[in-house]
Symmetry: C2
Subunit: 236 residues, 2 copies
DNA sequence: GTATTAAATTGGTAGTACCAATTTTATGGT
DNA sequence: ACCATAAAATTGGTACTACCAATTTAATAC
């Protein structure tokens, strides 16, 4: 019972065609797709269906559309992950605790991978950011904090982990940036977070994965404590 | 310069409207959306645009469409993650090594969370699966192996981590199932994997996170070794 | 009250038309 | 020959209509 193309919904045909073209090397990042009217003719489906498929791939980050210019293969998937997680968040399928737990797992793995892959220049850059971060006596500088984690994620050389961490960061910005600020602003958490960041940087310098594990635990330990405090207040 | 609704592309309006409805509790998992022709009228956009938006949310897993019946708010996001990662894979933005690294981080975190949340009944279930798995003398039973990891991920009580792990599993099935089988089939890896699985189960029983860390390292240590062997052969 | 049938509803697809942004081509001047 | 400008062609964005196909709902017959 092979029905291959028939029976399938038209927009699925279009998506599969594009996938096939990518798989076969006909399309790659930067390539321009055939015009919608052309695709419509090639595949024997209406332009409606072509557009539904392209719109989906657009939102997913696979394609970027430019009116008048054409549709191009992109490669920016963070948007898709953000969109997806946003919906999960809105539908109450996930909460901040889950996001934090995921981050903990990924930050640790990113740090461990970075230990294997980071260059000396990158370490210097991170040391610089961390030094600036510790000069902040008032509160944790959110931007510097993000930069620190960003650079570590980058040094992991794992696009997938990097993308997910970026998506999580954006998700936090969108929905719970105030919560994060509250968590980071108190004096005690600031000190512990500085220690944690120091530990992370030291683990990179010493290429010490055990230290990395401890530092991440310290980092997210305090985040979790603060999160629970916050929840208790909200409950009252 | 507030332009709110104007200037925005029509399908964006539709998506934002649906998001808003979800945020305000008008729509939740299981809810039925207004008919496409209705939405079209409500928002003052063409049915085309409504469909482009709905199609996107459909592929994302937020909506499930049923011809004749209607569009319903769903909540099955694995499909979206799979789609997204599939595209990343096809566009050579990620490879098996990266997937394995991500899995390693998530499996560890899932196991650690499971230690805190798993019930005795669930432990019994997992022990049973593991016992069956060790009876397999010929090769690793892929299905049982997947079940073991599946149940641990479930016990983590983290939908997000669970979803990503499921997506990774499907991705592996789709593209590199043969590679996985090759990795798991050799005698030495079978023994080590059994030890690793034992360690994971024991860590759950003893609620020992240190043991969990060691077991996961053993598990993915052998996977990585086999992966590198495979790569070396391919290079030749 | 139940089973069957007809009608209405709703998503799926196709086609046409026109607008808007961009690119390409043609035109004119120096 | 070169460049700036304008016209034409291309291409995505949107709207509207029409019809098909699956499903649900209402009507009918028993």
């Amino acid at each position: 019972m092979e029905e291959s193309a028939t029976n399938k919904k038209s927009y699925v045909k279009v998506i599969e065609y594009i996938k096939k073209q990518i798989r076969e090397g006909e399309l790659k990042a930067g390539s321009r797709l055939p015009a919608e009217r052309e695709l419509s003719e090639i595949l024997g489906v209406s332009r409606n269906s072509v557009r539904e498929a392209i719109r989906t791939l657009d939102i997913m980050g696979v394609i970027s559309s430019h009116q008048g210019a054409g549709n191009y293969i992109s490669g920016n998937f963070e948007n898709n992950l953000v969109e997806s997680m946003t919906m999960m968040f809105l539908l109450n399928q996930i909460d901040y605790q889950q996001i934090s737990q995921l981050r903990r797992g990924l930050e640790l793995q990113a740090l461990i991978l970075a230990i294997d892959n980071i260059t000396d220049a990158e370490i210097e850059q991170i040391k610089k950011i961390n030094a600036q971060l510790e000069h902040e006596t008032e509160e944790i500088n959110v931007i510097l904090d993000k930069q620190l984690h960003y650079n570590i994620a980058l040094a992991s050389r794992n696009t997938l982990i990097f993308s997910i961490l970026q998506a999580l960061s954006e998700l936090i910005d969108q929905f719970i940036s105030d919560l994060r600020r509250d968590i980071l602003m108190t004096e005690d958490s600031r000190l512990i977070l500085n220690e944690a960041h120091d530990g992370m940087v030291k683990s990179l310098i010493a290429r010490d994965k055990e230290l990395a594990y401890l530092a991440i635990n310290k980092h997210f330990g305090i985040v979790d404590v603060k999160l629970r405090e916050k929840e208790r207040k909200t409950m009252k």
